[in-house]
Symmetry: C2
Subunit: 332 residues, 2 copies
């Protein structure tokens, strides 16, 4: 008679443990689904506009122009100066130094995977890489080269003509400012960094992410970072309000009150390669940037542990940077 309650308790206990374990496993699975659903692997190829087909000849020409400092009025600044492929596609400065060491006050966004963004620049004022590429060449504080002078300079280097003819075979006058930008944009579409740890994890390699990184991934889902940092770029690619410093964002261009403090959501891909952070480069480290975003965007003081785990997750987003050989530029 004494045995019945014991067996009952034991049975109930086992059942409870079992049910608990089941519920826990289900919750885990749901968590994992939520976590994984927030992100997506980086496609192997970015979208390509209909009017700028990708050809090896155009990539080659674009690479030459990307590296050619003669596209700047001083002759020393190239696209590569501020979007340095040795340094994660940026210059690692708070804000870039351009013509005569002037600065526009904005941090150079990485060129790596920029092809997956539609809106370009920190304030999204350009659409597509073709429009973007035309900006810094002409900007007085960057390369300071008016469009017509850029065309004249490049046309005066006779060795360029065959490359333009190969890249734009059906055009009578292939050396135009639009084509310079089209070629550069085409080269930039090759600057994709696949197979980072997150992507390998999402494709089923459970071991690709460390436990710390997985914990960080859960935290960014739980605390809400993924409202803006989601999808293959871990960024919606859209403008979101970020009130930080004096820079008015898109309103600087449009003057519209509704555009004040509107900035493009930064990608997390390769983010550990591209300090300092934010449009003004005011956050020196990833830790600083995470704390400020938690506070300003989520109204939340992240704990030291949370920051630690989020850093571990972000550091697992360094993809394979393509190997680039230095192009041989025509002498004249």
């Amino acid at each position: 008679m004494k045995r019945t309650p014991l067996i009952l308790f034991l049975t109930l206990g086992v059942l409870l443990i079992f049910t608990g374990a089941l519920l826990y496993a289900q919750e885990e699975a749901e968590n994992t689904q939520v976590v994984q659903g927030a992100f997506a692997t980086l496609p192997e190829e970015p979208p390509i506009p209909e009017d700028n087909a990708m050809t090896p000849e155009k990539v080659e020409l674009g690479k030459m122009l990307y590296f050619d400092p003669r596209l700047s009025s001083s002759g020393v600044i190239s696209c590569h100066t501020c979007h340095n492929l040795s340094l994660g596609g940026t210059d690692r400065l708070p804000s870039s130094l351009g013509h005569e060491f002037l600065t526009g006050g904005r941090n150079a966004p990485t060129v790596l995977n920029a092809a997956f963004f539609n809106l370009q620049f920190w304030d999204g004022r350009a659409t597509g890489l073709e429009e973007q590429a035309q900006g810094p060449i002409q900007a007085g504080v960057e390369m300071a080269m008016p469009a017509d002078m850029a065309v004249n300079r490049i046309a005066s280097i006779e060795g360029y003509l065959p490359y333009f003819e190969a890249a734009f075979p059906d055009e009578e006058t292939p050396i135009t400012f639009e084509n310079i930008a089209k070629a550069i944009a085409t080269f930039e579409r090759t600057l994709i960094t696949p197979n980072d740890a997150l992507d390998r994890y999402l494709r089923g390699d459970e071991e690709a992410l460390s436990d710390d990184a997985k914990r960080g991934m859960e935290i960014v889902v739980q605390v809400g970072c993924i409202a803006c940092h989601n999808g293959p770029m871990l960024s919606t690619g859209t403008l979101m309000p970020f009130r930080h410093g004096e820079d008015l964002g898109l309103a600087t261009v449009t003057g519209e009150e509704s555009d004040e403090f509107m900035f493009r959501v930064a990608t997390w891909r390769n983010v550990s390669l591209t300090a300092p952070y934010f449009h003004d480069g005011s956050a020196e480290t990833l830790e600083d940037a995470i704390r400020i975003m938690g506070s300003v965007q989520l109204n939340r003081d992240l704990t030291e542990d949370e920051v630690y785990y989020i850093v571990a997750f972000l550091e697992s987003l360094e993809g394979e940077v393509p190997e680039i050989t230095i192009p041989d530029l025509p002498a004249d």
Copy 2:
């Protein structure tokens, strides 16, 4: 009886022609020897100093440092900015733009084959690449980075340490300014451009040089350019007086009257890639440079034809520039 004189004349005539042809052939052969003797093929490897052995690890580190703009106080100027391997190892500017767009007033000499020179800089004030590399990093108008700050900056990028340890394996404190220079110099010893048309010709390929280039080669021998432009570098590598402009050459450094207007003889290897010319970049084209040298150094007005053939010869001195991939620099 009438036939004897005729046969005599004919025989004499044939003999004369034959002797003439022989003499001509001999003169030609001597000419070719003189011409060929003035020059020598570029050795495959430059001299390597005893205290800076060449290792793959040191080459790799040197390449990273050569491309790293963080060696400059602004963070935007690297060795590669002024010695751009896309542009014949120079910047193709009359005089380089350095820190804050300041200029030292001298043209950047090419880094290609610089390892074959003992005296470095236009005025030869440094001996060897190790000493040379320390100059522009510290110069206020170039990279503007004091030696101790350069060491601190590089040491603060933790990712560099393993590369220094591999390059300087027996040293307790491998990150020193001397070692930074040693590594850069070691990388520069790989920037050799073999197998240009002259070298292939000197090795027996008669067709390697065009007829125009061969004619130009004869002219530079005849008019005396080869007094200074001889040997494997087509330069003695020594200082010679060149009175052109206000720049006092080595006397700027030493203050000695005997050093006034003393400049290192420029190499002709790859010279068609490195316009503009002279220590002050005042000659825009090869044609200008040839005319001025003829006039100032040889007191001779070269004809248009002579200039044309000399250009053809100099253009055949473009060697094979090594293919360089962009290094992946440590983020921090």
